[in-house]
């Protein structure tokens, strides 16, 4: 098993420390350094900064948001970053969520599965330096009856194939990820529940593509803290867990809450969400089972 680090979001006053952590990870032999993106720091800028100051560690987006960029732009960014970093870039993509997609980017959060599939197909075509033409439900390239014509990427990527990951939580997204991507970016994984909540869906997708799990990168992010007081260390992560399980999306559409339910934590997930959405963010969330 390989190790990666996730530096999260930047621009919140810890950038110097983040860079020091990335450089140390590079020296310690960590395989990949990921950077997040929501509605603050953008992943490519951060990764370029890190890539320029490290030597061997791969740099990856976890994620670059699909509603934030046209697929051709993502292909340009991926090719440029791969070239500048000497072939160390990994492209992680995700649909984000309805509130960010529609509120921040003004992009309707509809049909995320087919949108992701088309997006990945266009990105791969563009990165392969094909003359870009595409007819889909969400994208048509070039636009018909206009001056646009099929053109191809002028940048020559460092590698023919840049590893492509998708952030996935729900069963259908996981299955599609297994089918069309090289790896899956996961959150809140439980080793005890991973087969049922995640691996079996990825495997089904791989089988659809005529592949096995061999070579597919199953890549969850987990917090790691060191100390003797396990309960006290777990308390560090309760607010973060409460934000995602209780506060993300809406009561009806919270992917992280649904994941917790699929793991068997229905009661805890409901309680955390009730408290969070009723404004009870100051209190410590209910003590949940640690695994």
């Amino acid at each position: 098993m390989r190790l990666g680090i996730n530096l999260g979001y930047w621009g919140a006053g810890m950038d110097g420390d983040n860079l020091a952590v990335a450089k140390k990870a590079d020296k310690l032999g960590y395989d990949v350094c990921w950077a997040a993106e929501a509605y603050g720091s953008d992943a490519p800028t951060v990764l370029t900064w890190v890539a320029a100051q490290t030597e061997r560690i791969d740099v990856g987006s976890a994620i670059m948001q699909i509603p934030a960029r046209q697929p051709a732009m993502t292909a340009m960014t991926a090719a440029t970053l791969d070239s500048l970093s000497g072939g160390r870039f990994r492209l992680g993509l995700g649909v984000s969520g309805p509130q960010v997609s529609e509120g921040w980017y003004g992009v309707k959060f509809d049909k995320p599965l087919s949108r992701t599939r088309e997006y990945v197909e266009i990105v791969r075509k563009a990165m392969a330096r094909e003359r870009l033409s595409y007819e889909g439900e969400h994208w048509t390239l070039p636009l018909p009856e206009g001056p646009g014509k099929p053109i191809k990427l002028t940048v020559h990527p460092q590698r023919e194939h840049i590893p492509l990951y998708i952030a996935a939580i729900g069963p259908k997204n996981l299955e599609q990820t297994g089918e069309i991507a090289d790896g899956a970016l996961l959150i809140f994984p439980s080793a005890d529940h991973l087969e049922d909540t995640t691996i079996k869906h990825l495997r089904a997708g791989r089988e659809k593509a005529g592949e096995t799990m061999e070579g597919f990168d199953v890549c969850p992010t987990l917090p790691l803290a060191v100390g003797e007081d396990v309960a006290g260390l777990a308390d560090m992560f309760r607010p973060y867990t409460a934000l995602y399980v209780g506060g993300m999306g809406s009561r009806k559409q919270n992917f992280y809450n649904q994941l917790a339910q699929r793991m068997g934590y229905e009661k805890e997930a409901a309680e955390i969400q009730d408290k969070y959405l009723s404004g009870d963010k100051g209190e410590r969330p209910p003590r949940s089972r640690t695994s």
């Binding site: 098993m1 390989r2 990666g4 996730n6 395989d31 991973l194 691996i199 199953v218 060191v226 396990v230």
Partner: protein
């Protein structure tokens, strides 16, 4: 450290191929300690 190594072994057995950590801490030193613990635990688990 043993606990971290055990959990890493559990994740590897469950099918994880790259375990990404967010090294937690209130100071840079604490985060670097967590970073070093990651590689040490991986070795201790026999997964390096």
């Amino acid at each position: 450290m043993e606990r971290i190594a055990e959990r890493m072994a559990a994740y590897a057995a469950a099918g994880v191929t790259t375990l990404t950590i967010s090294p937690a801490g209130f100071t840079l030193d604490e985060r670097l300690t967590a970073l070093r613990a990651g590689t040490e635990a991986l070795e201790r688990a026999g997964l390096a």
